[in-house]
């Protein structure tokens, strides 16, 4: 036994509290009183130096996407408002829960999957203040009580034009027809997640009418998926999907439009079939108990501006959500925009409300099938 247990204990205590202090980070100051100016909010603007001296953190998924967000919206916002904005990521739901549960929220604005965000409205996320956020240029139905879209993209069918060029697959029915269209198919398959895509595609292929998809008949969908399982290659991240196209490991894919565009830009011989594409988007949201909700709202409002959205699209190839945004892109880029003329009408209608209500159950069923 040590000779001086009391001294030892005191030292241990000091060391422990030091470690804890560094681990948890020093708490920030109380919410500053913020003057955002008078008059109705206008997207893409912020009163000069309104947030001087404030520290904020913007959280997204990293890579080209977050860099684009930073360059198009976050950095200019920081410059104009005077706030200092840190970038963090990737958006981690467990971390958000930990922050909200422990009442130590260090993330001010997060970019998250919109279905998850809708499901967490009022739980981990707080309602947005639409007197600060101007959503008049956001298409009807894309914003929620706690969310505004961060951009838009699609789950699309792409195929190798060298292989299927003469007789290409046209929709999900062809995607699931391995006799007429032999070959491997890339499909999203993340056991920790479930999102619109595979179930809807399988049901359409099995003969369900597009307006009868919901509530999803999961048993029927998994049965259809099972019938082509040996031809499926599951991708867990966008990067993996892109790599599968570029390395030629698959002949067809159910992938994100932005990643398909990136693969094509790198020389992959793929083409997109827009029929029955499924719109998806990320949303911006503010965690509950965020330190400066007003500042968070101001950042979101700025992010929605037409100029910011145009620049974001130019930098990331995701589609803009401000209807006034006029991005200048090359022809290939234009071809992959979900907002290009003729494209929106071809979309399948995804019931994101239904998804938000049923996502946990869908994750369990999807994970069970994947692991089966």
């Amino acid at each position: 036994m040590p000779k001086h247990p009391a001294r030892l204990a005191a030292m241990a205590g000091v060391a422990a509290s030091l470690l804890l202090a560094t681990a948890c980070g020093a708490g920030s100051a109380a919410p500053a009183s913020i003057d955002l100016g008078s008059g109705p909010a206008k997207s893409g603007t912020i009163k000069k130096d309104a947030l001087s001296g404030l520290n904020m953190t913007f959280v997204s998924y990293g890579g080209v996407y977050q860099e684009g967000q930073q360059k198009a919206a976050v950095d200019p916002f920081a410059q104009e408002s005077g706030a200092k904005i840190l970038q963090d990521g990737p958006t981690d739901y467990a971390k958000i829960k930990a922050q909200v549960d422990s009442s130590n929220v260090t993330w001010d604005v997060i970019d998250a999957d919109s279905i998850w965000a809708e499901a967490q409205c009022g739980k981990l996320l707080q309602p947005l203040d639409y007197s600060i956020i101007d959503k008049s240029k956001v298409p009807e139905g894309l914003s929620g009580q706690c969310t505004v879209p961060a951009m838009q993209y699609g789950m699309v069918l792409v195929y190798n034009k060298d292989k299927f060029g003469a007789n290409p697959p046209k929709g999900w029915k062809d995607f699931f027809d391995t006799t007429k269209f032999p070959g491997k198919r890339a499909i999203s398959g993340n056991p920790g997640d479930s999102a619109p895509g595979p179930f809807e595609g399988a049901l359409i292929a099995d003969g369900v009418a597009p307006d009868q998809l919901y509530p999803l008949d999961v048993d029927r969908a998994t049965k259809k998926l099972q019938s082509v399982r040996s031809n499926l290659v599951f991708w867990k991240t966008g990067a993996e999907a892109q790599q599968l196209l570029e390395s030629g490991e698959v002949d067809m894919g159910m992938v994100w439009s932005g990643r398909a565009y990136a693969a094509v830009k790198n020389g992959a011989p793929f083409q997109v079939a827009w029929d029955q594409w499924m719109p998806i988007m990320d949303s911006l949201a503010v965690p509950k108990n965020a330190k400066n909700p007003k500042a968070s709202m101001a950042l979101i409002n700025y992010y929605l501006g037409a100029q910011q959205q145009a620049k974001l699209t130019e930098l990331t190839s995701y589609s803009p959500i401000n209807t006034d945004a006029k991005p200048s892109l090359d022809q290939a880029g234009q071809a992959f925009l979900t907002t290009a003329p003729g494209v929106p009408e071809k979309a399948l209608k995804i019931d994101s409300k239904w998804w938000a209500e049923h996502q946990p159950e869908m994750i369990e069923k999807w994970s069970a099938w994947l692991g089966g």
């Binding site: 241990a12 804890l20 981690d92 739901y93 994970s367």
Partner: protein, 291 residues
């Protein structure tokens, strides 16, 4: 840290000058505190959440053991770890043996071949395997030129085992080499002079003496393999998910921390049980050799 300790220590040292053995214990203290804060505390809170989140009771454990899916994943986790251990042992034993009999320069090369990958990030090595093993990758190209394959290596359990063996082999080779280099090779000569053929001398004399290294290596590899996350996530398919990935699903996808905690507790409990079992078996084996 050291200066803080010295600042506090002098009075004690002055009163008791001839007590050098106390100080090393004191030096370990910061490490122990760090361990308590960063390891023990989260571990305990995880165990607590397993029994209390969302409601107190054994609900999370009942859920775990009532879903066949979970038991299948648990079984797969242990068989994968076992495969990795066996393959790593089969490859490492001759390698470590070669290290003991090689000349100085050859041994340096062999050691370097183990250590350089060991110092490279796990993530980088796993990605390298993704590139090598993919259907259109180098391995399949090579196999193709000699008229074999193509084989599905990536997104299969085979791919996961290949990747994990490469990542964990240093943990097998190094303890084996440490023990083997301490074995007196004259014992083999002695066995030969007593009439044993080389193979018999090797199996009856050398192998038993190397067992401590085998057990240390196997235990380290097996236990590390049980908790692997990145490699199976990248090289495997969701169809061969391991327990760590299922835990991630519960914690991150579903925000069901109690369930994730319960899975962690089950994994921890079974791992401790395996260690105990192995320790007992090895002690018996050890007694047989020496006694």
């Amino acid at each position: 840290m050291a200066s803080t300790l010295q600042a506090v220590a002098p009075p004690a040292a002055a009163r008791q000058p001839a007590d050098p053995e106390r100080r090393p214990a004191l030096l370990v203290l910061p490490a122990l505190v760090a361990l308590a804060v960063f390891f023990l505390f989260p571990l305990i809170s995880m165990v607590i959440s397993a029994f209390t989140d969302p409601v107190p009771g054994l609900g999370n454990f009942t859920w775990f053991f009532s879903e066949t899916q979970n038991l299948r994943v648990l079984g797969r986790t242990f068989t994968t770890a076992l495969w990795v251990t066996v393959v790593a042992l089969v490859l490492s034993y001759p390698y470590a043996y070669a290290m003991t009999i090689a000349g100085t320069r050859a041994r340096a090369v062999l050691t370097l071949l183990v250590l350089v990958p060991f110092w490279t990030s796990l993530m980088v090595r796993t990605f390298a395997w993704v590139i090598l093993l993919q259907d259109t990758g180098v391995v399949n190209d090579l196999l193709g030129t000699i008229g074999l394959g193509p084989f599905s290596l990536i997104r299969t359990q085979t791919g996961v085992v290949i990747g994990m063996v490469q990542l964990l082999m240093p943990f097998m080779v190094l303890p084996l080499y440490a023990v083997m280099s301490g074995i007196d090779r004259r014992l083999l000569t002695a066995a030969g002079s007593m009439g044993a053929r080389p193979v018999k001398a090797f199996l009856d004399v050398y192998v038993p003496l190397s067992l401590p290294g085998v057990s240390a290596g196997c235990l380290t590899v097996f236990i590390s393999a049980l908790g692997f996350y990145v490699t199976p996530a990248l090289l495997g398919s969701p169809t061969d998910a391991l327990l760590s990935q299922q835990i991630f699903t519960q914690v991150n996808g579903l925000l069901k921390w109690g369930r994730g905690g319960a899975m962690g507790v089950v994994l921890l409990g079974l791992t401790l049980a395996m260690i105990a079992l192995l320790a007992v078996t090895l002690r018996r084996a050890g007694k047989k050799v020496t006694g």
